[in-house]
Amino acid sequence: MSRHFESLEAGAGGLATSRVKHGWTWRQLVAAGGFAACLAMPVQAGIPAPFAPVVIQPAGAPARAEFDLTAVLARARRENKWLYVYLGASDCPYCRKYEAFLEKNAVELVPHFSKYIVVDLRSSLSVTTDALFIKIADTSRPYVEFQKSIGDERTRNVVYPSVWLLDGKPKPLMQMPAGTGTFQTVAEQLEILRLEQ
């Protein structure tokens, strides 16, 4: 590794002037540190701002990722609205694809979200089915148990991204598909918002 960096240094015209232990220059360390930081930093993720999402971060790490819906459900009941609950992962390409679709079509779509409170659950792909919990009031249920409790058929492995359409109880307004691939056109997103079965 050291030799590799040295050759790079030579190729760069010997610009690095100070050297630290093991043959790394300060410039190389800064560059490597920056690269590592980029790898560690999640890509910008989540529902785009025009949809005014309520962002919910998970609690209970690292053993579990618990998302507390208590406050948004209370708000939904108070404002007589429905919830558009989005579960995304910071490292999920399909999530970025759906979020990019929303962003690109925000002007057209946002007015149709008016009866929904958009909720953005921020997870990661390392949070698998057994580690994902949904909390409402004093009850925290693992994913599968939560799905069964509300009558949602999606009780296999958790899929990223996922969307729930819920009323304030919460009960599903309709059975949603696993993933978002079947509503990534404006027309199909509107079908979902209109609860077309």
């Binding site: 399909y94 958790v158 059975q175 509503f183 079965q197």
Partner: protein, 278 residues
Amino acid sequence: MHVTILSRHRLLLATIAAWLGMSALGAIAQVGGLPTNVKHTDSSPEWEKLREKLFPGRSMESAASMVQLVVPLRAAYGASVPVRIVSKLPQSDNLYVKRITLLVDKNPSPVAAVLDLTRELGQADFETRLRVDEYSHIRVVSELSNGELHTDSRYVKVSGGCSAPPNRDQLHNIGKTFLKVPEGIKANEPAPVDLQIVHPNDTGFEMNQISLLYIPAHFVRSIKVSYAGRPLFDAELDFSISENPALRFNFIPGSGGEIKAEVVDSKEGRYVATLRVP
């Protein structure tokens, strides 16, 4: 053959994508980008070919006056799309539903089920779950005892149903067959029966996520059901039926007897279940 190779190639890619998601992450991601501006009543090139092959030269009524298909536009999973067939006439001596054909236009094997029915059903309604591989029409063709054909169709937006990683934790129970009737059924009135078979119903398009080899096709290919020794229906099935094949159908309870289901799979596995009805 050409279609089969293309389908396998596409399914291979989809399966690898699904496997990568599953193995590394314990999660599956979905893909989109399939035709959306399709009406439930539209035809398709696949249907035109199937129709000519299965019902050559025969006219078909499509007003949903005799048979209705109830399927959600989207289902939770492409590998398990709930389907309900509602017949609009009772199984009477004068006129009854003689045969029902259930199809998925764009599945690798489109004919999901052919059911030969008797009047003993009382009411020719059926429920099951289907694998649907991509955005497609699901169709039912109901053939009446007078030779008329009636059809209904629904366009569904799901994908990946034939290559979805199967649940393989019940292989030791393969073939176990269950029959169930609700409490309080009345004599001489159609009553529902639930039939379920523990079976992976492997399509041949699913990949073993450890060996990365395709799991050979192995599916329930026929079910014969009788009540008190009299046939209710014979079903010829295909892998488009979801894993753990389930059927809900009717029968008319009489003075007591046994419901019997005889199941045969594509590896000649034979399984029998019986249920005594008071």
